[in-house]
């Protein structure tokens, strides 16, 4: 069977109604209406398998990890480390030690800015981000630049919301120490050509961090194929609990980084006379008792995604994205913001006469959950010269019927504001 035949078969076997039964919240009523959850870029819903994994851990398996000699502690340790392995495999990392468990993508960016950035960025150096970054992939670099006397450069985008690669390449120089780029834009849906961008950056000797918060939920990610030095994401946007996130880093880079927080769990030896030596990576960056249940829940979420298949998910979402785009394009007075060729399931738009926040409220009365605001990407809003947009963001459990409900809701907005 050829690859394309295989994908046709697997997409055909994807049964969205069956998948929806794994997410009890999707059967909830909101203001007397069936919930239409289109705020997946903010956070995704959790499948029963994840809730069950948390429940099982807390009810039957709870113990602290690493130090216990008792059986329960050993089991918790192996579940936690197995979760690391699951994440490593999911990203196709070389080794599980390249996976650091943190609170989320934000903490992961901060750790790299602190640990790698402070060692390698000095006065006169440059860091490059893109115009479409989330604040969490802007502010830590701004702070670092201020502290080190470095300059933050911004890779420009075109009106469709795509990075201008030639301009990006021109920004790169031997002064560039770090490039921090999102895999997929949370506000536009644009998927960046990260492999190409990493290659260009590496030619100048810069390291590259990819913000994968909107990458991993929508496509299969291979960090070795991308070639990036760091890749970060948050569990809760990947059907896992809040409070758990991941930093992937190439081992030699992580190894050379000083600790982030200090305390228990991240040391090799502590002595008042001889000082303290630190543990190897990844433990060095996991001071204190980590979010054990979160890591276990994240692994359960990844197992669940793998049981459907990232490729099947991507194909289904792509069809849904095309459908919602077509439907919205047919509504008079709607302007889509972000029309890149390569996109994940995010549609941002503004409307004549109605402010995004009013649209959000009216859709809410129809049970439709969307985001209205700047999506933590104010420089991007400034680029498009809008105060805010309405954003509908998809997951594989969304349906065409829900898209139809969104369009009906938008017609209602137009009725109110006619």
């Amino acid at each position: 069977m050829s690859l394309s035949e295989e994908s046709i078969v697997s997409t055909a076997s994807f049964d969205v109604e069956r998948v929806r039964r794994d997410f009890p919240v999707l059967q909830e009523q909101i203001r007397g209406k069936e919930l239409v959850y289109l705020d997946n870029a903010a956070t995704t819903q959790k499948p029963l398998k994840v809730a069950d994994a948390l429940q099982r851990y807390y009810t039957n398996e709870n113990a602290n990890i690493h130090r216990g000699v008792h059986l329960l502690s050993q089991q918790a340790t192996s579940s936690y480390e197995r979760a690391r392995g699951t994440v490593g495999h999911f990203l196709n990392a070389n080794k599980p030690e390249e996976i650091v468990f943190l609170r989320g993508a934000t903490e992961a960016v901060n750790l790299v800015a602190h640990g790698y950035g402070r060692q390698h960025v000095g006065s006169g150096d440059e860091i490059i981000v893109s115009q479409m970054e989330h604040h969490s992939n802007i502010v830590p670099w701004q702070v670092l630049c201020e502290e080190r006397g470095a300059t933050l450069r911004v890779a420009p985008i075109n009106d469709a919301g795509e990075v201008l690669l030639e301009e990006y390449e021109e920004l790169l120089s031997e002064r560039t120490k770090i490039v921090a780029i999102t895999h997929a834009s949370n506000a536009l849906g644009t998927v960046n050509p990260v492999r190409k961008m990493v290659n260009m950056a590496h030619k100048c000797g810069a390291v590259v961090l990819i913000d994968g918060a909107q990458g991993v939920p929508h496509m299969s990610v291979d960090v070795r194929e991308i070639g990036c030095d760091f890749y970060v994401f948050s569990g809760h946007k990947l059907f896992a609990p809040t409070g758990i996130g991941v930093l992937y880093g190439k081992k030699p880079l992580l190894n050379a980084m000083p600790p982030w927080e200090t305390g228990g769990g991240m040391i090799q030896r502590v002595s008042f006379e001889h000082g303290t030596t630190y543990a190897d990576v990844p433990m060095r960056f996991e001071a204190g008792t980590p979010h054990i249940a979160g890591a276990i829940g994240l692994a359960a979420a990844i197992d669940y995604i793998n049981s459907i298949g990232p490729k099947v998910i991507a194909d289904y979402e792509d069809k849904l994205l095309r459908y919602v785009t077509e439907q919205l394009e047919e509504v008079d007075g709607i302007k889509l913001i972000g029309t890149a060729k390569e996109k994940v399931g995010v549609v941002s738009f503004v409307m004549d006469d109605a402010h995004p926040h009013d649209i959000g409220t009216i859709l809410d009365t129809e049970g439709i959950a969307v985001r209205a605001g700047h999506h933590c990407a104010q420089p991007l809003m400034q680029f498009y010269n809008v105060p805010a947009t309405v954003r509908a963001s998809l997951a594989f459990y969304n349906t065409r019927a829900e898209i139809d409900a969104l369009v009906t809701g938008i017609r209602k907005v137009q009725e109110v504001f006619k």
Binding site: H357, P387, V416, F417
Partner: protein, 150 residues
């Protein structure tokens, strides 16, 4: 739909479309900026105070229908009032939108502003309705830093 009609009443839609006292004001004595980072509402309230009386008031900026209509209706309500009266109106308005949905609304105190009681069904929108009011109060008090309703 009923709670929606309750929120987006004709008066509100009208003031959103054609805001009153919109724009600059001559002989301004005090101005204040108001910003609601949540939805990006951003406006300025300008006042001309003479002997503790609001002789002139206007606002400018951009925002959602609720924030714009609220600002517009506020300018109409406080025009010509004493500073103390405007402050009392602020308190009454603020208490109304913050009150429980079941709480009755005192229309004699609030006049036209009573139509904003609909925002109580939508707690996230209270900040939109109160933005201009906070800016006005802060302008009267002579605060220097802009108002934010985050």
């Amino acid at each position: 739909m009923s709670e929606l009609r309750e929120l987006y009443q004709e008066i509100i839609l009208d003031h959103n479309k054609s805001p009153r006292n919109f724009g600059k004001l001559e002989c301004v004595t005090t101005s204040q900026e108001g910003y609601n980072p949540l939805c990006g509402d951003h406006l300025y309230v300008h006042l001309r105070l003479e002997e503790n009386r609001i002789e002139g008031v206007s606002f400018e900026g951009s925002g959602c229908a609720i924030s714009k209509a609220s600002a517009s209706l506020m300018t109409v309500a406080i025009q010509g009032k004493s500073v103390a009266e405007a402050e009392r109106l602020f308190e009454d308005f603020h208490s109304m939108v913050m009150a429980d949905v079941a709480e009755p609304v005192d229309e004699t105190k609030l006049g036209k502003m009573a139509i904003f009681s609909g925002v109580r069904e939508f707690p996230m929108r209270v900040k939109c309705a109160t933005l201009a009011w906070h800016a006005m109060k802060s302008a009267i008090s002579g605060d220097e830093s802009p108002v934010s309703t985050e």
